[in-house]
Symmetry: C2
Subunit: 365 residues, 2 copies
DNA sequence: ATCTAATGTGGAAACGTTTCCAGTTGGAGA
DNA sequence: TCTCCAACTGGAAACGTTTCCACATTAGAT
């Protein structure tokens, strides 16, 4: 109706014939007001289509009711789901989500944090290349701003929501070893910018060592190879002796299967594969993917809950790691004696059996 | 260093021994200042770690430098990628992204728009159940707030970034028909809350009609069936005569393959399948998925560009649809004469051939 | 009838900016 | 020396809220 661009509480007060203080009290139910004036104010507000200006409120209350969130990329479903979890948990709390993406770039990380801070975010939830190296972030913490990380393993001075990458990777090594794999490889994307990837390798490596197995091959690849099965195949070619590959995420694991197919290798007969993350599609594949199942959305929710508690004055400490689950899948079976050339190879039972059984191992720390 | 929670321009001015007006001019490079005072202000700001309060600025300038964005869910990679595109395009423009998700709920849609408006968003980018029914949204437009939709087909009174769902679906019908399919089905998730789904069905239906083929079966399913291949199989069972299914998105198409497998049907020999969206993983499958390739990220970028232009005073009109591409895949071949029971069936040539050739049809409107 | 207390009310300050405007300075030209 | 103008400067208002405080009104108690 009214062409007024934006109607303020002053306009409402004027229309209702009272002071702004009274109008504010009525509209917020924050103080006494006679039935009479209450009615007038409410009607005026309704008629004029009044709504509070969050900016005005933020300025006066020193709270923007906004939570800043930084993730490497929303194109990676794992982060997207985590953000979805954050958003879901925040929704209804009155807090809104301010989003930023760094594209796995450390400089962008810092710029983004500074941007979020200058937007007066009341709290920060982040996954970064190197949280501990971010001056902006540590400053924020020092100033008492609630900060909570996602995906990062525990880090001195930070609170984080995470799965224990090291332990989960050990579990994969265990599964590999138990069916008889000796020569294994870890396929890593963004090894240098992802502590997750590094910790997974560390756990995988540690467990192999502990079992007296050869060290796993560390195969680092770039964005290009990850999205181009032909390039990936060219790389895999250089590791003909491996009988099993642990990929640092499910998408990569599926690419490995494709690359193997291009090379004429059969999965799992010629090469076993396991992934990480537990994306839904892995279960639907013709050869279901063995993987570590995680719940990014739960991670986001936990991070948001921590922030919310902080914001309400409580100061929750570090929570234990979120659970993960080794999901058995047909991509992982005993190595093919033909390919494995170092004497002792395990003649494990069937393959298809393990695949369709949903025997899963729940681990929790 | 200083334990001061937040340092304002007033503090800086005080430290530099000048008025706030001068400090503001220096810090913004927005007016004259002697070299002397300029130097003092800049040093004070640096020493005290001053940064502008976006809130203060927003209040005085009436611009929050914030763009509100509403999508059904970030758990759906298609939307997540679109948001990533928006974010990427916005980054560097000074605008920040305020995110909200509705979970495909019309009521939540409206509440979210109102929330974003009350947060003083300078513009809105949205994908909703029913943009045209949203009072909050139409009000926003009437007030002159830049609004741009994503994914929705053109709608009176709105500007949208989209692919032509109707045409794309016709293309699928054409591809189905050309290899000889007559009895086809359209598998729809969230038919009632997604105009995309409805328009795809409409296009598919129209093209079948135009070719004198039987109307495609409309198979509506819920969230539960979509994520549970067993349930999906039970439903597919009821349509034994179909030789090809067009699923309203790729994830669903992959689920169909799984369900078919559970029923002992072979894809593509017993059932051809095509999807929509063109997610990357479709290419990596053992039986690569035939699908309509789209670029959600480009969609987000376009929406953001439109908004940015609006914000700079230009008023760009509706742009043409974004291009789509029919991606051939091994899931689509000629129907198996054995299954097709109505007399005239096409004895098309090979199957595997069509699969591995990457002959793709580019369409644009 | 007076006193107290509770209730209602609105003016004004504060939050952090930017910008208008008026004032002060200094130097150049007459 | 006087005038004028440009360059610089800072006070104050405004943006939309909330909240403190003081004031007025009323009802209840003595």
């Amino acid at each position: 109706m009214s062409a007024k661009v934006s109607v303020t509480i002053k306009d409402v007060a004027l229309a209702a014939g009272c002071g702004v203080a009274t109008a504010s009290r009525v509209l917020n139910n924050s103080g006494p007001a006679s039935a009479d004036v209450r009615e007038r104010v409410e009607r005026a507000a309704r008629d004029m289509g009044f709504s509070f200006s969050a900016t005005g409120r933020a300025l006066q209350s020193r709270r923007s009711m906004t939570v800043g969130c930084l993730v490497p990329s929303l194109a990676n479903p794992v982060f997207a789901e985590a953000v979805q979890g954050v958003q879901a948990e925040l929704s209804g709390s009155g807090y809104q989500l301010l989003i930023s993406c760094s594209n796995y770039d450390e400089r962008a990380d810092n710029a983004a944090i500074e941007m979020l801070l200058s937007k007066d975010a009341d709290a920060l939830i982040a996954t970064m290349v190197a949280p501990d190296r971010s001056i902006a972030l540590t400053n924020a913490i020092r100033r008492g701003l609630p900060v909570s990380l996602m995906f990062h393993d525990p880090l001195e001075g930070f609170v984080t929501s995470y799965v224990d990458n090291f332990e989960a990777a050990r579990e994969v090594a265990r599964q590999f070893a138990e069916v008889g794999h000796r020569r294994t490889g870890f396929l890593a994307l963004r090894f240098s910018t992802s502590d997750r990837s590094r910790n997974r390798y560390a756990g995988f490596h540690a467990e192999c060592r502990a079992r007296g197995l050869p060290d796993p091959a560390l195969i680092e690849i770039g964005e290009a190879e990850a999205t181009h099965p032909e390039s990936l195949a060219a790389i895999l070619c250089q590791y003909p002796k491996l009988t099993a590959i642990f990929a640092s995420n499910d998408f990569l694991a599926i690419s490995v299967q494709k690359a193997a197919r291009l090379l004429g290798w059969r999965v799992p007969q010629d090469l076993s594969v396991a992934g990480f993350d537990g994306i839904e599609i892995g279960k639907l594949l013709e050869v279901p993917l063995a993987t570590i199942e995680t719940e990014p959305e739960a991670m986001g929710r936990q991070a948001a809950r921590i922030i919310l508690e902080h914001l309400q004055g409580r100061a929750p400490g570090q929570l234990p790691a979120l659970p993960f689950l080794f999901r058995a899948g047909a991509t992982l079976v005993a190595p093919n004696p033909g390919k494995n050339d170092d004497g002792r190879d395990a003649a494990q039972p069937s393959s298809a059996l393990l695949a369709e059984t949903s025997s899963q191992t729940r681990t929790n720390r």
